[in-house]
């Protein structure tokens, strides 16, 4: 059994060559799979996206990545705003190709942190990672977990249900007999419980 997950990168290019004026809009609203590049100086992989053209690069909390992804590549890009800062947190994890299954998980989290005027600033103690201060707030935003659960239960569960609605392994006549029996049983049981109460 071979199952294919479609990647829309080629289709994006096809639409753009037909209608070049759509280029900017399309690329900003469609997420492409994250690309990995190698930083030869440091000897580490990092991820490319639309946001890391300007802004500083910074290695994100690897604890989170390793606990949830057991590996993978992550990159964080931050830039200043007038009243705070914004950033994008990228995570890419490819399956190890074992058990004849290929897959890839890309996360793109875009965050904006607003610092209200007059709010106490985190104490600068010579540590260069002021951003650590905000870490618990960012970390607790559990969108990824919700999406992962949704993918597992709803999307995969639903497509499986649709497949089983197209064809039945069990003979349809047997299936409807079973349904009828089940309904009869339920009727009898509910009548009994009404009598008892």
């Amino acid at each position: 059994v071979r199952v294919i997950v479609r990647v829309c990168a080629c289709d994006c290019v096809r639409v753009i060559v037909c209608v070049p004026s759509l280029c900017e809009d399309l690329l900003s609203s469609v997420d492409q799979p994250l690309k990995i590049a190698r930083d030869k100086v440091v000897g580490k992989d990092y991820l490319l996206c639309d946001y890391n053209r300007d802004g500083d690069s910074y290695r994100c909390s690897t604890e989170y990545r390793d606990l949830y992804f057991e590996g993978g590549v992550s990159s964080v890009y931050l830039w200043d705003l007038d009243h705070g800062f914004a950033g994008v947190i990228l995570i890419k994890k490819a399956g190890d190709g074992s058990k004849k299954i290929k897959g890839c998980w890309d996360s793109i989290h875009v965050v904006e942190v607003q610092v209200r005027a007059g709010a106490p600033l985190p104490v600068q103690t010579g540590i260069n990672n002021v951003n650590c201060f905000y870490l618990p707030n960012l970390g607790n935003m559990d969108m990824e977990n919700k999406i992962r659960s949704t993918l597992n239960e709803i999307y995969f569960g639903k497509t499986k249900d649709i497949v089983n609605g197209l064809r039945s392994v069990q003979m349809l006549a047997d299936k409807s007999k079973q349904e009828a029996l089940k309904n009869d049983l339920m009727q009898v049981l509910s009548q009994r419980s009404k009598q008892q109460s």
Partner: protein, 286 residues
């Protein structure tokens, strides 16, 4: 960003449009057609240049067709293509014109098909119809008897679909089974395909196919048809069961390997702990 200075030629644009159309998920041909129409911005170009794509799509998808006054459906496939937009219905022994955009059949005419193969074709059709009724809530089948490269061949096509765009999903399964009756033992060759698209607040597609090969002993028409359909039933049951099991495996292993639901510690991360650990570490190193 690359600068597309040169305009693409009409021919190239039509080729791209046709490609999008051919890959439209089941039940979404009209949506893709309308979107592509906007991109191309020329109805003439689309209609003339992509006419082949419309026909190709229906033949690939095993689109069911119905003639007025009949409840029975016939599949549009390459095996029934008579040219000039006409298709063959081997069960009714007639040909008809098919409008690929409107998906409408018209102008029926009597058409014999290959007479020598008729008993085999009829026996297989009857056995297959009963099987399809038993397993496909909305299934349609068409069986052809054709001589191909000198070999007398039976080709069985099955299609079943559910389109529910209001619930943001569409699905279709197709299978094609062939064998030749020229030798005492035949090789049955089958291709099974499933495609499901679910797009409520997201976008998930299942696109799957499987190739099957089995041996079949050729005896008389009725017995052979019975064995043929048994092979089909077993293979299609096995395939469907494997897909269902695959979902469980995928959930338990691969998906987990990409992103776990909980960390290995089985508890959610305590971010404040990590923060104090990090600050502590940095203070040590400072």
């Amino acid at each position: 960003m690359a600068d597309f200075e040169e305009q693409l030629s009409d021919e190239e644009k039509v080729r791209i449009a046709a490609n999008f159309i051919i890959h439209a998920p089941p039940g979404e041909f009209n949506e893709v057609f309308n979107d592509v129409r906007l991109l191309l911005n020329s109805d003439n170009l689309l209609r003339e240049g992509a006419a082949q794509a419309f026909a190709q799509y229906n033949m690939d998808q095993f689109t069911p067709a119905k003639l007025d006054g009949s409840e029975d459906q016939v599949l549009i496939t390459e095996h029934g293509d008579l040219g000039h937009g006409r298709f063959f219905d081997p069960r009714k022994k007639q040909s008809f014109k098919f409008d690929h955009l409107r998906k409408e059949a018209s102008e029926p005419q009597s058409h014999e098909g290959e007479v020598a193969l008729r008993p085999w074709r009829d026996a297989c059709d009857e056995a297959l119809r009963a099987y399809v009724k038993d397993h496909y809530p909305t299934g349609v089948c068409t069986v052809y008897g054709k001589t191909i490269d000198g070999q007398q061949t039976i080709i069985a096509c099955i299609e079943g679909h559910q389109f529910q765009p209001k619930n943001f999903w569409n699905g279709r399964c197709r299978s094609e089974w062939k064998f030749t009756i020229s030798q005492p033992t035949a090789q049955v060759v089958g291709v099974l395909k499933i495609q499901v698209h679910y797009y409520e607040d997201g976008n998930v597609q299942l696109v799957s196919h499987k190739d099957v090969q089995e041996s079949l002993i050729i005896s008389n028409e009725v017995q052979t048809a019975k064995e043929f359909v048994k092979i089909i039933e077993n293979a299609e049951n096995e395939y469907q069961t494997a897909i269902t099991e695959n979902y469980q495996t995928m959930s338990d292993t691969t998906f987990k390997a990409l992103r776990r639901q909980l960390p290995v510690t089985r508890t959610k991360i305590d971010w404040n702990k990590i923060l104090s650990y990090k600050i502590g570490k940095e203070m040590q190193n400072a």
